[in-house]
Assembly symmetry: C2
Homo-oligomer: 346 residues x 2
């Protein structure tokens, strides 16, 4: 195993020194080239690149991280679900992270995981990340972790303290308000709400938006029906609501729940939208093809992620200086056929 002689017997991977030797420069110059540092003549740069190519050189990230103290990777903790919303968010995130030149490390905290968010964060920190994104967390009470990197909270208020916290909203509240307004604008006296599990901040925001819309028009909010995001829970809620003649409009906090809800309603003989209007939340494109096509509200994940991440990276790379200003995410109501005016009163 003597490094100086054969380097491990098997074809060992080339190191920057091998490249330097071949190119006839110093190791540091190789490093300069690979880090796009200035002050390397074009000629030398070419020579180095050529040598690296020839050798099949790939730089060693562990060594880089160790020497520089930066890992160039950011960690994300998500609630591992295959739902359309969370999955879209993750895809957007990966994209944005990679575009920014970072690598992504993912940890799921299935609901009820021991350790939960704190455990996931600790694990990320141990692996080594320059920043952390917490995606749509649930409320786990007091979370205490000793974090030493900037943290981005996506779609939630900060749930623990960190040296530098940046929060990005996807605007759930505004979106929920828009959905409710749409129904109210159609002439419904009131709008019922099929809420998501209240441990999720996203669910709370939507509930709040719904309540705000109602209050702005001076309506009193009817009792909230609780779901768990699943279509099954929406179905259960629908069976409950179907018997109540006062419900003519329902805002569901998720598309899947809306679908389950509609199914129960129709099964009970209530027509959608003629008797009851329903609006969902997420805009999973498949629901344009069910009957009736679902009116819903689109979550601006891409915009929210891009903005939140750019601020996170700013905090990583230029600590101290002012972060870019936050912009309000767009609200996009997708009106299809599950909503309409309330039934005529006799």
């Amino acid at each position: 195993m003597n490094r100086g002689t054969v380097r491990g017997g098997a074809a060992a991977l080339p190191r920057s020194e091998d490249v330097a030797l071949l190119a006839g420069v110093s190791r540091k110059t190789v490093s300069r080239v690979f880090n796009d540092e200035p002050y390397v003549s074009a000629e030398v740069r070419q020579r180095v690149l050529g040598a690296a190519e020839k050798l099949g050189y790939r730089r060693n990230n562990a060594a880089r991280a160790l020497a520089s103290g930066r890992t160039r990777s950011i960690g994300v903790v998500t609630l591992g679900t295959a739902g359309y919303g969370p999955a879209s968010l993750l895809v957007s995130l990966e994209r944005a992270v990679r575009d920014a030149g970072y690598a992504l490390r993912v940890i799921n905290t299935l609901e009820g995981d021991p350790g939960g968010i704190a455990g996931a964060v600790t694990s990320l920190l141990e692996q080594g990340v320059d920043g952390i994104a917490i995606s749509e967390p649930v409320d786990e009470g007091e979370v205490s972790v000793n974090v030493d990197v900037p943290v981005l909270f996506l779609g939630a208020p900060p749930v623990f303290t960190a040296p530098k916290v940046v929060a990005a909203s996807v605007g759930s509240d505004i979106l929920a308000q828009a959905a409710t307004d749409h129904l109210l604008g159609l002439g419904h006296d009131t709008v019922h709400h099929l809420a998501g599990p209240q441990r999720w901040y996203a669910a709370r925001d939507r509930l709040q938006g719904w309540r705000t819309a109602l209050e702005q028009r001076g309506r009193v909010a009817p009792p909230v029906v609780q779901g768990d995001w699943s279509a099954a829970s929406g179905y259960a809620a629908g069976r409950e609501l179907a018997g109540d003649p006062s419900v003519t409009a329902v805002f569901a906090a998720g598309d899947d729940m809306a679908i389950g809800l509609i199914h129960a309603l129709v099964e009970a003989g209530r027509r959608v939208p003629d008797d009851i209007s329903v609006v969902g939340f997420d805009d999973n494109p498949v629901f344009a093809y069910v009957s009736p096509p679902l009116t819903t509200v689109r979550q601006p994940f891409d915009a929210a992620v891009r903005e939140g991440l750019s601020r996170l990276i700013h905090a990583i790379e230029k600590p101290g200086s002012e972060p870019p200003a936050a912009t309000a995410p767009p609200v996009e109501l997708v009106i299809r056929s599950s909503t309409g005016p309330p039934p005529a009163r006799h």
Copy 2:
């Protein structure tokens, strides 16, 4: 910045040496404790753990990786889509990877990404991973990368060579065959197929399974209709198929496409399942709540991932020795109401 004096001014993170000093042992002993190596007395182990706890010590993975040559992380390249299938697969994978004591690095290759799979793999290698999982790749022609770690191909044949290749099937072909058989068993003369994009191996497998089922009963396979996984493409296919009185049963390669298909069929006045039966693929639970509830086939992601991963990790940790045997993934047909016997002939 002199390490010997103040360690960087700001409160630097504790290193293993700090723990060793506090516990009155050597650095190596700290290392032993944290790696669960034997030959450390319980008493010393306690002392070390106590000191680490007091200092808030977290081991530095970059240094560990550099010194040991192992990163304890595995990389996954996926086709970043928020679809139910791929998302479920990713969740299963993260779970299994973490349970095995590894960290997960994710790279999405949106279809049409420059570099594609090769680029993603290179990037993963540069970041440093002990193994790579390729999740449901598309055919990109010849992929050439110089890989030096074991690779797991999930739901596809190996698309490039690696020192150690392990393939795990999710059994798409068998599943597709079961779906087709179900329809044939119901009395349909033949079954049409709404296929996924043929660049995807998953789509090819399903098509193959469908064809096999037909051949086994001596039926000739009708022309295939092409979709792109989206409900919209299913809808387009449905408009095409609705006019053809010979179609009484369709097997769609994905749930979303099946939904779009049904929508078009119903819109054209064909009843499902009375006139035409439809079966999907994936088993997204929400489709139990549309009309008609979708008959579909469940992908055994969890089983396939767990098995594939255990073989990948075997290849990483015990190269040379025989890998655990492969077991066939379970096939689970979820019969709901979108399928039934063919319409009576006059």
